[in-house]
């Protein structure tokens, strides 16, 4: 049991928030304030309420729980021992300063990326359009980014439950607006209003293979994914490697280089191996079949090289195909002359794919745009 005064408690809380941020957790100031209030209510008498108060106020995603647990154990273990409590506060202040420095460092980074933007150099667009991604230099990749941004990704539409007002008299009679208008004309319903069912673009899901064999293409396709995420709202992106990583949040940064760095940083197994079957299963279990892929257009960017059991991949592709509106498989190797989908994984997956297209250059990505809109 520890007795601490209010200012000291503030410091402990701020220090804990800093420790969580250092550990990589996203901790908004508002949540820290709530946590401080919560501590005021549950008290510091025991370890348990402090822990659960932290869980309820500072953790917003189940994935962050492990990180929180580790940081909590390390930080509060010391804090809840009275003899070190005062000593520790000095240490926390330094941590808070550290985060300040980090923030100050960000504008420098931004300048750095601007420089990259300034060296934009135009080469003949046509050449770039048909060049294989694996032969791209870094500069060309930057230029390709500009070209990719021009690709307007629009998925096909599906009927939505929402009714919208029709301009002309058709569809269902809209009593609400008819009466509303009648009130203006002394209760005579002279103009009849009507509604029709509105339409919604389908969600687009990009599953990008980031294994070693796909590395040059994954780099380019990730930038394509970024252009898609930034330009539209209903897009989700995942990296497939030896495990599944959701990269939608990382890609949502406006600056392509920041987004790219964040995404590759988040993918721990970048350019490693692939376990397509189990990873797809993870996607189906955690996201896809639960709702994300329902009625969506799913694009898999992969060469289909998979050392695992093809039966697993086939089963998972079937599950995915059952909920998705359309499954498009993009395989950069398809462009190679004489290519046959002989890789066991690719052969297993093909029966459940609606469109099978190449994705080795920008021109073929234009074909992808057309496939997505179908």
């Amino acid at each position: 049991m520890v007795e601490v005064d209010a200012t000291h408690l503030d410091r402990i809380v701020a220090g804990f928030a800093a420790a969580l941020r250092t550990a990589g957790l996203d901790v908004p100031v508002g949540s820290v304030v709530t946590f401080r209030q919560a501590l005021g209510v549950v008290g510091l008498a025991a370890w348990h309420p402090v822990y659960w108060a932290g869980r309820a106020t500072l953790v917003h995603r189940p994935e962050d729980t492990a990180l929180f647990d580790d940081t909590f154990a390390a930080y509060w273990h010391d804090q809840l021992r009275p003899d070190v409590a005062m000593e520790m506060s000095e240490h926390e202040l330094t941590m808070a300063l550290d985060t300040g420095d980090d923030e100050a460092a960000t504008p420098d980074d931004a300048e750095g990326t601007q420089e990259v933007d300034l060296v934009l150099r135009w080469s003949p667009t046509e050449v770039l359009r048909h060049k294989d991604f694996s032969l791209f230099t870094l500069e060309e990749l930057v230029e390709a980014q500009t070209l990719m941004r021009q690709l307007k990704l629009a998925t096909s539409v599906r009927p939505s439950r929402r009714q919208r007002r029709a301009r002309h008299e058709r569809g269902r009679l809209d009593i609400r607006h008819t009466v509303q208008r009648a009130l203006r004309t002394e209760g005579e319903p002279l103009i009849r209003a009507s509604t029709v069912q509105s339409e919604q673009p389908r969600r687009l899901i990009l599953l990008i293979d980031v294994s070693g064999s796909m590395e040059p293409y994954a780099r380019a396709l990730l930038r394509f994914a970024h252009a898609a995420v930034v330009s539209r709202r209903r897009v989700e992106a995942f990296a497939l490697g030896t495990r599944l990583t959701r990269i939608t949040r990382e890609l949502s940064s406006r600056d392509p280089d920041d987004a790219f760095a964040a995404a590759t940083g988040a993918v721990e197994d970048w350019s490693g191996g692939t376990r397509l079957g189990p990873v797809l299963r993870e996607f189906n279990d955690e996201w896809g079949v639960r709702g994300m892929a329902r009625g969506a257009v799913v694009v898999v960017l992969s060469d289909g090289w998979d050392r695992g059991d093809p039966a697993v991949l086939a089963e998972q592709m079937q599950r995915l195909a059952r909920v998705a509106h359309h499954v498009v498989w993009v395989n950069p190797l398809k462009a190679t002359e004489g290519y046959e989908p002989l890789a066991a994984g690719m052969a297993a997956a093909l029966p459940f794919v609606d469109r099978f297209i190449e994705g080795h250059n920008i021109a073929s990505l234009e074909a992808l745009v057309a496939a997505v809109a179908a």
């Binding site: 209510v41 869980r55 929402r162 609400r176």
Partner: protein, 301 residues
């Protein structure tokens, strides 16, 4: 206005109404009541998220106001709507009785937009609720609604106020207890999460599950309840597409009770498996693993 003085009060209160929360959930509920914050519950389907709100309502004695979210939900279904046909009728009546010519047009119009013609939907009901005990507002499956609705909800939940342009501002004298649930088919917006207290509802451990099933079923023997809880706990380890939740355990135990089964053997399990496993592939997987093996392990528990 307080219901509780400690986390234990919450636990006892809910237990008295047949809901058995673990420490984390009890603390989150206690904090939600104390700090008057909405409580966001995420978790697998069937772990008892919606039940939290229902039990809270029974315990506090407040009304349960439920808003089931779906795609395309809008203000007219969630907040309020004017009763246009009654407004029209009112206008016609005024005309017929000759009142329309007698009174000032402004007066007649302001009559039309009075609370009398306002149809309150759950959100407005919860805000305009006058007297204690505070109602429990359950916003179910928020992940099904779209982003625009979430943004609107954020506004309502941070101010506990709603403005109806024709009438003015409704402000909650008694802030409702707000429980929001999500199956996590998509991420709820960060801004809304910041506003809420968050708890991930997990499957209960064996002992708690046994306690929950026996509270929620009638006339089922303890032996069967033990077997069901143990089998379900093992199902969850098999990597099924849809691991059974507490709701399924309760269903399974009740089905066995209704059939008058004395014990859970392979035949009865085979006959009733549809109450717990609802994917053909999952049933297949369990059979491949061996029902006998699963049930045998029961007796050792």
């Amino acid at each position: 206005m307080t219901y509780t003085h400690s986390v234990d009060d919450v636990r006892c209160g809910l237990e008295a109404h047949d809901y058995l929360p673990d420490d984390g959930l009890a603390t989150a509920i206690f904090l939600a009541l104390e700090l008057q914050r909405p409580l966001l519950l995420e978790g697998e389907p069937g772990v008892g998220k919606t039940e939290v709100a229902k039990t809270l309502a029974r315990w506090t004695g407040g009304d349960l106001l439920r808003l089931q979210c779906y795609e395309g939900i809008d203000v007219t279904q969630a907040v309020y709507e004017w009763d246009y046909s009654r407004q029209l009728l009112h206008l016609r009546t005024a005309e017929a009785t000759g009142r329309a010519t007698g009174v000032d047009a402004d007066e007649l119009e302001s009559e039309l937009y009075s609370e009398r013609f306002l149809v309150k939907r759950p959100l407005l009901q919860a805000i305009a609720y006058g007297q204690p005990p505070a109602p429990v507002l359950l916003i179910d499956e928020i992940d099904r609604a779209d982003d625009e609705f979430e943004a609107f909800l954020l506004e309502v939940l941070s101010e506990y106020a709603i403005t109806v342009p024709e009438l003015g501002r409704f402000h909650a004298d008694v802030p409702p207890i707000v429980v929001i649930t999500s199956n996590r088919t998509r991420d709820v917006h960060d801004a809304l999460k910041r506003r809420c207290l968050y708890h991930w509802v997990d499957h209960p451990d064996f002992d708690r599950e046994v306690a929950i099933i026996s509270r929620r079923t009638d006339g089922v023997s303890d032996a069967i309840i033990d077997q069901v809880a143990s089998a379900v706990a093992q199902f969850r380890q098999l990597g099924l597409y849809k691991p059974p939740g507490v709701a399924e355990s309760i269903d399974w135990a009740s089905s066995l009770g209704r059939l008058g089964a004395a014990a859970l053997d392979v035949e009865t399990a085979e006959a009733t498996i549809g109450a717990v496993l609802k994917y053909r592939e999952d049933q297949q997987r369990v059979r491949e693993y061996g029902l006998a093996k699963l049930l045998e392990a029961d007796s050792n528990v």
